[in-house]
Every structure is written in structure tokens, then in C-alpha cells.
């Protein structure tokens, strides 16, 4: 129902102060798909996500949402199409879950138009989708890390945008909660057609859950496409500077990266150069 919004970067250069982080990047996000951006620390992947969500103005080039320059479109208008969950959002002390999720309705409310039944319905939907309905009246600061992350996702869901960007949504979560969050995002993508773009650290989860994988090296696009094409031994060596063995994941057939460190590696694999 919603996979017709397009998001792309054209000739994008980004930086902070004197430092250029990303230089002349072209990137097309496939609509209605799950895209994962991977790359080493400080490779510029989070910077790209910030620019794609208009939080960072480009030096040159542009981010195009539905063909329009995102930095020149009224920010509230963008917020009705594109949502972002940053890496470390702040929950005001003592705020109730439903109240926090309701903050996601901000772009749908005018200066004068007050809270409507539609807003309540959107909050209720977001709570149910994320399995947090029974937490509605609890204070956010009492929740566990996994619950809290689901509540934040509920907040961006209440925003009801067709494109959703997430900056490392699984950081600080244990493996069970990581899988839970990624399953939830897949549900959203499959059932509502939401275009999802996320920065992920875990290569194997990225390979498994993304329809489209984007590998960034030194602020430039290294490769993009289906996980099987992108995530190879050469890619891991070039992007992360890490020797590895890449085998098919026995549970889904997608590539699985087994890193080769200096220790605990059997004789047969020792000779593989970085």
C-alpha cells in the first residue's frame, strides 16, 4: 500500500567542521524493501543515515525524497513521510509509555488542532504492533532495555510514515531482543509495505534480515545489492580489514561471516591473508 515513496542520495558530500566524512555518494534506497547499511566504525554510515533523514545538511549534492530535495522541503512535511529513530533518544523522567508513543503524533498535529481520536487510534496501533500495549501506563524508565527499544519503535510507528530509518536499533540489546526487533521491523515491511533503512553492526543479522545490503567504506559506496552478492570474503576484508570465511547460513542460505582472528583458528584457515 505504501511502497511508492522513493529515497535517494545524489552526489552527496558530508562532513563536520573541516573534516569530510562522505564524498560524492550516490545511493538509491529500494522502495518497499528492508535495507541495511553496514561498514566499519567511523566509515560514515551513521552520517549517511543522518543526511538521508535531513538531520545533517549536505555540503554538496542532495537527498531526494520522492524526487524533491529533502533539505528544502518543510521539515514537518518530511516528518509525515519519513521517520527516524536516532541512536540515543532521551525519555523525559517518569514519562508514561503511551505518552511517549503519543509524541510520535507531533507532525500530524497543527498549532491549533488538538489531539484527535485518530491520534489515539494511531498510538493504540503502534502499541499493539510492538507488543507494548500492556505497558501503556508504565513509566518508560522502569522498563528493561528490550522493552524500552520496542517503546521507541512504537513512537516512530505512531508517526505513521511510509519510510522508516533506524540508527543501530539493536545496540545494547541481547541477542534474543535483537532478533525480536528485527522480526518486528520485517513484519512492518511485509504487512504495511514500510520502506526500512537501518544501520546495523551485526553482519550476519544484517545479511539475514536485509533485502538490500549497502556496504560503506571510507565514506564511499563499496557495494550494494542482495546480501549474497555483497557480503563476500573480499568485501569483509576491504570494508572491515578482517580476514574471514563466508559460508551459507544453514538456517536461511544467506551469507554468514566467520571472522578469522589471530587466535583460536584451526590450521587449515591460518594461511588466508587479510
Amino acid at each position: 500500500m505504501t511502497s511508492d515513496h522513493t529515497l535517494a542520495a545524489a552526489g552527496l558530500s558530508l562532513g563536520y567542521g573541516d573534516r569530510t566524512v562522505v564524498d560524492d555518494l550516490d545511493l538509491v534506497i529500494p522502495p518497499g524493501k528492508v535495507t541495511a547499511i553496514v561498514g566499519a566504525n567511523a566509515s560514515g554510515k551513521s552520517t549517511v543515515l543522518k543526511a538521508m533523514s535531513r538531520l545533517l545538511a549536505p555540503r554538496t549534492g542532495a537527498v531526494l525524497l520522492d524526487g524533491k530535495e529533502i533539505h528544502r522541503t518543510p521539515t514537518k512535511e518530511v516528518a509525515r513521510t519519513l521517520g527516524l529513530l536516532p541512536q540515543s533518544p532521551v525519555a523525559p523522567e517518569g514519562i508514561a509509555v503511551a505518552d511517549l508513543v503519543g509524541r510520535g503524533r507531533h507532525p500530524h498535529q497543527g498549532m491549533l488542532s488538538r489531539w484527535s481520536a485518530e491520534d489515539d487510534a494511531a498510538v493504540a496501533r503502534a502499541l499493539e504492533v510492538t507488543g507494548t500495549a500492556d505497558l501503556a501506563d508504565r513509566a518508560v524508565d522502569e522498563l528493561s532495555g528490550g522493552q524500552r527499544q520496542r517503546v521507541w519503535i512504537a513512537m516512530v510507528l505512531a508517526q505513521e510514515t511510509d519510510v522508516l530509518l533506524l540508527d543501530e536499533p539493536t545496540t545494547f540489546l541481547d541477542v534474543a531482543h535483537q532478533v525480536e526487533v528485527l522480526d518486528l521491523l520485517t513484519d512492518l515491511n511485509r504487512e504495511l509495505g514500510t520502506t526500512i533503512v537501518m544501520v546495523l553492526h551485526d553482519l550476519n543479522l544484517a545479511a539475514r534480515y536485509a533485502d538490500h545490503l549497502v556496504a560503506i567504506r571510507d565514506g564511499a559506496l563499496y557495494a550494494c545489492g542482495e546480501a549474497a552478492e555483497v557480503l563476500t570474503r573480499e568485501c569483509v576484508a576491504d570494508v572491515f580489514g578482517l580476514s574471514s570465511v563466508v559460508v551459507p547460513d544453514p538456517t536461511c542460505g544467506k551469507p554468514m561471516v566467520l571472522p578469522l582472528g589471530r587466535h583460536h583458528v584451526a590450521e587449515g584457515h591460518r594461511t588466508v591473508p587479510a
Binding site: T75, E77, L84, V90, P92, A96, G102, R103, A136, R190
Partner: protein, 350 residues
Amino acid sequence: MTAVQEASPATADVVAAGRRRRARRRLLVHVGLAVAVVVALVLSLVLGRTVYPLSDVVAVIMGADVDGASFTVGTLRLPRALTGLMVGLAFGLAGSTFQTMLRNPLASPDVIGISSGASAAAVIGILVLDLSPSAVSAFATVVALLTALVIYLLAYRQGVANTRLILVGIGISSMLASVVSYVLSGAAAWDMQVAMRWLTGNLNGATYERLLPLLLAVVVLTPVLLRLTRDLEALRLGDQTAAALGVPVERVRVLLIVCAVALMAFGTAAAGPIAFVAFLSGPITARILGPVGSPVLASGLFGALLVLVADFVAQYALGTRFPVGVITGALGAPFLIYLLVRSQRTGGVM
């Protein structure tokens, strides 16, 4: 946990009920505080060395000539009480705006240097330039606004980071405090007393003439500030989250700073930097209100109540007449320590 098209009615009811409960609490607290402010205002007109019946007070306000009451109530008590109310309102609004925006209860404008700009200007105006009281007020207002601008520019680097603003403000504040000490140390005894009274913050010099600029500032700026509280509430979720929700972060922040600093500057010009009112009102109100929405307006009402009550105590409860700032200062210092101790335990997010 699967995506659904429509939420069950039960969940929608829970959401709506929670929202109504929060709205009720907001209304209750605001009405309660407003009533308390009105009661305090009326009592400060009625009570004093001489107690006038309420009918006399009302008659004076309506413009009738009542023997004795016309002078005591009309010329002394009314401008004093109104100035107290307006200064408290302005300080409470400004303090809570800064604390909420910077997500730090220590970040009130009196702690981060804006009041010290006004204080330094007033001391120089009184002791060095020998200005009249109204000229001192105007000078203090202008310098407070300039101080805020300098702090903002020094803290600016591709947008203003909260911690940098607070630290730069504290630095500027210390510099201005040493200016105040320097000027005071060379002053004649009589002038010095005038300057000290100004620095403590007091309502003794309250006249309609000095009240007028503050009144105008409050009437113009309060509605602007209140219209911004929705965006301010979004800013509490972090700058990035607010931007993603469609808030023009830097523009809103500049508007909030301008409104709050102007309220602070005009308030300080009218009554001196009454200690800790801006600093105390926000956190105390946040406790009274609970996590149900913006604390800014409630904090303004609490500030008004605090100044009215503290001035009454300062005038009549202690035998000698003290400036109101002595009372608020005595309350504020322990509270500051309490906040610091508490923030070490909880991480200090408001």
C-alpha cells in the same frame, strides 16, 4: 507481535483514558496554582502593619478614595505585589524553559550567567555611571540580553550543544561576578548599600513606572512562549528525535532563548536578580505536576507564588524587613545542594 491494521478497542480505551487522566492532572495543578497565586496576591494587599478589610482593598483598586488605604494599598502594596507577581511569573517561565530545553535542572538562566549580566550592569550603573533607577533598569535589561547573545555565540558550533552552553554560561557568570566584586570594592559606603540591595533582589522600590516595561514584556512574551511549549516538549526527547518529528530545532531553540532571556532581563530590571526563583520553580513544579506534560506555565505560576509568599515573609515574619532575595536565597541554596546530590545518583536528567 504482528503488524495489525486496527488496534483492539480495549487498547484504544487505555490510551484515551491515560491521556484524559494526564490532562485532568495538568488542569488541576494549573488551576490550583493559579488560585494560590490569587489568594497570595489578595492577602498581600489586605495584610501588613495595618490590616485593611477586603472591601477597602477592592474600593481602592476600583479607583475610589479611601482614607489611609488609598496610599498604603494603592501606592505601596499594590505595585509591590503586582511587581512580585510579574517578576515571579517571568522568572518561573524563563527558568523552566531553559531547564527543560537544556534537559538539566542546573541550567536555569540565573545559574548560567544571564542574571549576572544584569547584576554587573546595575552595579556599574549605580556606582560608576551614577544613573537614575529607571536608567539602571534599562541598562541592566540591555546588558542581560547582550550577555545571553555572547554566551550563545561562544557556545555556537554548527548548532548549540547543551553542555557547552551551560559551561560557557557558568564561565561568563564567574567573570561577571568578579566585575561586580571589583566595582563594589571601590564604592562609597552609601552607594554600596544601594547596590547591595539591588543585587539581593527586592521589591521595596516597586512603582507602577518600573513595573510597566515588565508587564508589557510578560503580556507579549508569555503567549509566544506557550505556543512554543509543544515543540519544547519534542525537544525533551533529544535534538535528533525532535528534528525527525518535524521540529525546526535551531529556530525553536533561538526563539525559546530570546523569550526566556527577555523575560529574565525585564524581571531583573524591575526587582533585581531575586535569588534562585528561576532556578527553584522548574524542578519543584516538575515534582508537583508529575510527568504529564510541559512544566513551563505551571512553573511561572509557582514562581509568582514563591515571590509573593517570600516577600511577605521577608517583610513581616522576621522582625526586621529583609529584601525578598534573602528568603529565596536561603531556600534556594539547600535545594541546589539537594539537586546536586540527587543528580549524582540519577544522572541528572530532568
